[in-house]
Assembly symmetry: C2
Homo-oligomer: 350 residues x 2
C-alpha cells in the first residue's frame, strides 16, 4: 500500500481499517452496483436475494431419479496479468465461468449455480464492477445463477492494481446419463472441437515468450490485425450448447464414451485422464491447423514442440472419445449446430 | 520470479513452461501426496475419486421433502500473511473451512462438500501439503467431503513465498427448517457465542497495529505467554456442533429466529443483515470480556472504538436472535454442550 500524506495525517490520530488499507465503503458500493446485474442471473430455483450469508438453491430436481451434483473450482491463472496490463477487465470473469462449465460438462452435467472469489490489493469499484459483469455474462450465457461471491481487499498480498479470481460451479446430472471413463475402449475415435485461443492455460509461458519481443499493443503480421492483447484475451469457449445438443440424441457413456476438457497439461495430459490402464492415445498432430497465436509464441520463445504440447491446447478445447459406430453421426450432429469437429486420432493399446 | 543461472542457461535453449516459472511436476507430486489425506474425508455419498475434472456428490437426500442447497465462498484475508510470516501453514485451511461452515450454518444448513483454491507464486510441495492438511482437518471435523480443488502456480502475481486461499462450501437444509430473518422481531434476545480470537477478519488492521510495536514472536504480557503469532493464528471456530445440537430440540425460524456469523463488518454490521426495516440492535458492549488480543491491537494502533467495533468480532463469533420465551432454554441447551453463551442485547424498534 502506498501511504498518502492524507493517510499519514490520519494515522497520527490512530489507525483505522481504512488507513490500514481496507475500504469497507468501497466494498459496500460495489455490492450496491452489482446487485441488479447479478439478480438477472436468477430464476425461480434461486431462493435468496444476495446479501445474505449463503446462497440458496432449490435441490428438488423434478424428473430426475438419481441426481448427482458435479462441482469444480478453478482460476484463470496469469491470463489475469494480461487483463490487468491491457486494462480490460470485463472478460476474465466470463473465461472463468466457461472454464468451470466445461469442467463439469465432461461428466455430462449442466450448470446450476456459480460463486466467485475476487481478491485485490486495492478495491477499485469501477474495475470490480467490470470484472463482475464478466461473471454475469458468463452465467447468463450458460443458464446458471451467480448465487454468491466474496470480494477481498488484501493490501500487502496483492500489488495495488493486481487481483486474482477464483470460481466454483455446481451442476447436476442424472446418474445413468454420465460420461464414463470406464467405457473408453481401444479404437475409440478422438473428435476435437476448436478452442478460441489459449483459453485459460499457459499464460506464464506465453507472456514470457511474447512480451520479450512485443508489447501488449503490438500487431504482429501473423495475427492479421489483432493485437497481442486481443489474441491473448479471447474468451475461453463454453461447449455447453453443442454438448447439450448431443446429449438430447445420444446416450452418454454408450454412444459417446467420455469427454476431455483441454486445460493445463494439454491434449495428452488431459485426455489421458479418461484412459484405463493399458490404453494410449494416437494423436494426428497435423489433423488441424493451429491458430496463429501458438506459432507466434513458439517462435518468439523458441519453445520446444514437447513443451508446446504439454502446456497449450493448440487449438483444440474439448475432445470427445466416441466408438467408431457412432463417430460419423456425432460429427454430423455437431456440424448441425455450427461446430467444426476435427477427427484427430484414436485410442490405441499401449 | 528469480532467475537462477541454471534457468538462464536453459532459456538460451528456448523457453519452457518450467523456465517460465510453472512446475507441472511439483503440481503432480502435490496431488500424489494429498490423495490419501483427501480420501479420508469421503463417505459413500462421494461418487468420485479425485483427479477427475469434477467432484461428484449424491444429490438424493433421503428423508427430506424440500431440500435447499446453501453455498458460500470465502477467503481468509490477510491472516494468510501471518501464516506466511510465522511459517505455519497447517491451520489456515481449517480457518477457511470453519468460516464457510458458519456462513451456511446461519441458514440452518449442514455441510456436504467443500472445494479449495490455492494460488501461489512458486509451488513448494511441503508447504502445499501442510496447507491442504488444514483443509482436510477442517472437513473431517465438520463431516464434509473435500471434493475438489485447484492449485495454481502464478509467478509474477504472487511473490515467491506468498499464496492465497479461497474455499467454497455447499450444504443442505430442509426448506421449513431454515432460520428466517423475517421471523426476527422487537424484543428478541441476542445470545452470543465466544470466538477463539480474530477468526478471519481485521488482519490488515491488526497486523498494521501490532507489527509496528512487536514482532510476530513477541510475547506481550497481556497475552499470558502466547506470542503474537499464536494469538493471531488461533483457528476460526466452527459452531456446527452446538447449533446442530440446538436444532435437534428447537424449531429454527420459530424457537430461534435467526443467526448471525460475525465476520467483516463486526457485530453490528453482520447482525443488522438479519433485521427487517424499522428494527435496530441494542448491544450491551460490557456484557462480556474482550479477549486480550483486541486490547493489544487497540492500544498498539490507538484504534478508535468505532473502528474496533466495525472491524473485529471482539470476542463474539456467532449471535443467535431468540424470542424471550425460549431464550433461557436455548442458553441451557448451549451450556449442556460446553458453550458459554452471553446475553448481549436485544432487538429494538428504531
Amino acid at each position: 500500500m502506498i501511504l498518502t500524506d492524507e493517510i499519514r495525517a490520519q494515522e497520527a490520530q490512530g489507525l483505522t481499517y481504512q488507513t490500514a488499507g481496507v475500504n469497507i465503503d468501497a466494498g459496500e458500493e460495489l455490492v450496491r452496483r452489482i446487485k441488479p446485474m447479478v439478480r438477472k442471473t436468477f430464476d425461480e430455483r434461486v431462493l435468496t436475494d444476495i446479501g445474505g450469508f449463503g446462497g440458496l438453491f432449490d435441490a428438488r430436481f423434478p424428473g430426475m431419479t438419481a441426481p448427482v451434483l458435479v462441482s469444480s473450482t478453478d482460476g484463470v491463472g496469469t491470463k489475469i496479468k494480461v487483463a490487468i496490463e491491457a486494462n480490460r477487465h470485463d472478460t476474465v470473469g466470463e473465461d472463468l465461468v466457461n472454464h468451470c462449465v466445461n469442467d463439469i460438462l465432461v461428466c455430462g452435467a449442466r450448470p446450476l449455480f456459480f460463486l466467485d472469489y475476487f481478491a485485490c490489493g486495492k478495491l477499485d469499484v469501477e474495475i470490480g464492477e467490470s470484472i463482475i459483469s464478466g461473471f454475469v455474462r458468463g452465467c447468463q450465457n450458460n443458464g446458471c445463477a451467480l448465487i454468491g461471491g466474496e470480494t477481498a481487499e488484501m493490501p500487502g498480498m496483492y500489488a495495488e492494481n493486481d487481483y486474482d479470481l477464483a470460481g466454483t460451479i455446481v451442476g447436476v446430472v442424472e446418474r445413468d446419463r454420465m460420461f464414463r471413463r470406464e467405457a473408453v475402449a481401444e479404437g475409440d475415435i478422438l473428435i476435437g472441437l476448436p478452442s478460441s485461443g489459449l483459453h485459460t492455460n499457459g499464460y506464464s509461458l506465453a507472456r514470457r515468450a511474447l512480451l520479450s519481443q512485443y508489447t501488449i499493443d503490438s500487431k504482429p503480421e501473423l495475427l492479421g490485425g489483432l493485437t497481442i492483447a486481443d489474441a491473448l484475451l479471447k474468451v475461453h469457449r463454453s461447449y455447453l450448447k453443442p454438448i447439450m445438443h448431443l446429449i438430447e440424441t445420444f446416450q452418454p457413456g454408450r454412444d459417446i464414451h467420455a469427454l476431455s476438457h483441454i486445460t493445463g497439461g494439454g491434449i495428452v495430459g488431459n485426455t489421458s485422464r479418461v484412459l484405463q490402464e493399458g490404453l494410449d492415445l494416437a494423436i494426428d498432430w497435423n489433423a488441424w491447423q493451429r491458430p496463429a497465436i501458438f506459432r507466434l509464441i513458439q517462435d518468439a520463445g523458441m519453445v520446444p514442440e514437447d513443451d508446446m504440447r504439454r502446456t497449450f491446447n493448440l487449438g483444440i478445447g474439448l475432445i470427445l472419445l466416441v466408438p467408431p459406430s457412432t463417430a460419423t453421426a456425432v460429427e454430423q450432429s455437431l456440424r448441425s449446430c455450427g461446430e467444426e469437429p476435427v477427427r484427430m486420432g484414436a485410442v490405441v493399446r499401449k
